[in-house]
Symmetry: C2
Subunit: 206 residues, 2 copies
């Protein structure tokens, strides 16, 4: 199934899968290149966690439907025709403190609500299944204007999402403030979301 | 990093990520199209487990480095230039009985040994980290001539792999028979690898 890259958004290099550590631009140009930097920051957090022996969490490659590949002599195979596919799962998963962990990260320019069109039925069903199987599932939501990043447990996202058809097409920011958990912006890593995961899922143990 | 698709093998459609259930060819033509069917069988097993509420295990998309994308008007974005990348993790992961599960699947035409070049340092290090973090990690190895499929726990693969440079470049089949676990070929699913996982990792609980 060929689709426009999420919600018809144009492709940008920030969405290209690249496991190599990226150089940060000047520290003052925060999110100057919108749409890619939440992902960059999460990838950096995950690299930090990995190097630190804290968690093994990776972003999955972007799903692509490959149609045509060329094999030039003496050089690498070149994909000449391919299409972006809709992901059937979430983007990030791995293992943390012996538990399976699974999440999706999205951002919005909206100031007062988070549009639910950022999520697909497949992903929401996937998160529901993860919970049933004893995994940890959540979403990381960024409000780019306020520069606020929240962790919202999947159980709440699912409730809001299932209301979508009869009710609102977005989650009000004030509901995210109530049900979600603000992730403090720091250093090394900038987005230390596991600190919030600890406070929600490992309270008794830490 | 542009690379030839695994070990310089030509790309074939079996490696294309496709989450849609595939029609099986005639049941008598087992593995007639080599190089894709172990993956097909594992994908079908995973769909079966998912539908059955037994486990949530997915194959990760093939990692691709996207270089150029066209945006024709009124139609889907077309990737015009991209390259296969080496995976930094294993291909399959998910959650089973509350545990994180992670594996790689490979096959060989060799009759008496399994070449270790099928695995990369990154993948072996990844499996080692998974074990340290309390996850379940293994490989599924298929000997295509004998039509025998083994589950080998990552701890054994790691031992064989680390010996590689000073010792053999492959694992002898007889060692896989000793350290590994034969997966019986059945129906629904054809490769019921979780039955073997139960016998290794959940013995006390089942």
């Amino acid at each position: 199934m060929a689709i426009h890259y999420p919600n018809g958004k144009k492709f940008n290099k920030g969405n290209v899968v690249n496991n190599a550590p990226k150089k940060r631009s000047e520290p003052t140009t925060l999110y100057s290149n919108r749409g890619m930097t939440l992902e960059d920051d999460l990838n950096m957090a995950n690299q930090y966690y990995l190097a630190d022996g804290r968690a093994i969490i990776h972003k999955k490659p972007t799903p692509v439907q490959i149609v045509h590949v060329d094999y030039p002599k003496r050089s690498a195979a070149v994909i000449k025709e391919a299409y972006f596919k809709q992901a059937s799962t979430t983007d990030y998963n791995g293992v943390y403190r012996g538990r399976y962990i699974d999440f999706e990260a999205k951002e919005t320019k909206n100031k007062t609500s988070f549009p639910l069109k950022n999520f697909h039925d497949h992903q929401v069903n996937h998160m529901e299944q993860i919970i049933e199987h004893g995994g940890i599932a959540f979403v990381i939501l960024r409000f780019s204007f306020a520069e606020e990043i929240y962790l919202l447990e999947a159980k709440h996202l699912i409730t809001f999402y299932r209301k979508k058809e009869t009710d609102r097409k977005s989650i009000r920011k004030k509901d995210i403030e109530i049900y979600g958990h603000l992730i403090k912006i720091g250093y090394h890593p900038r987005i230390d979301y596991l600190e919030v995961v600890d406070s929600i899922y490992f309270m008794d143990e830490s």
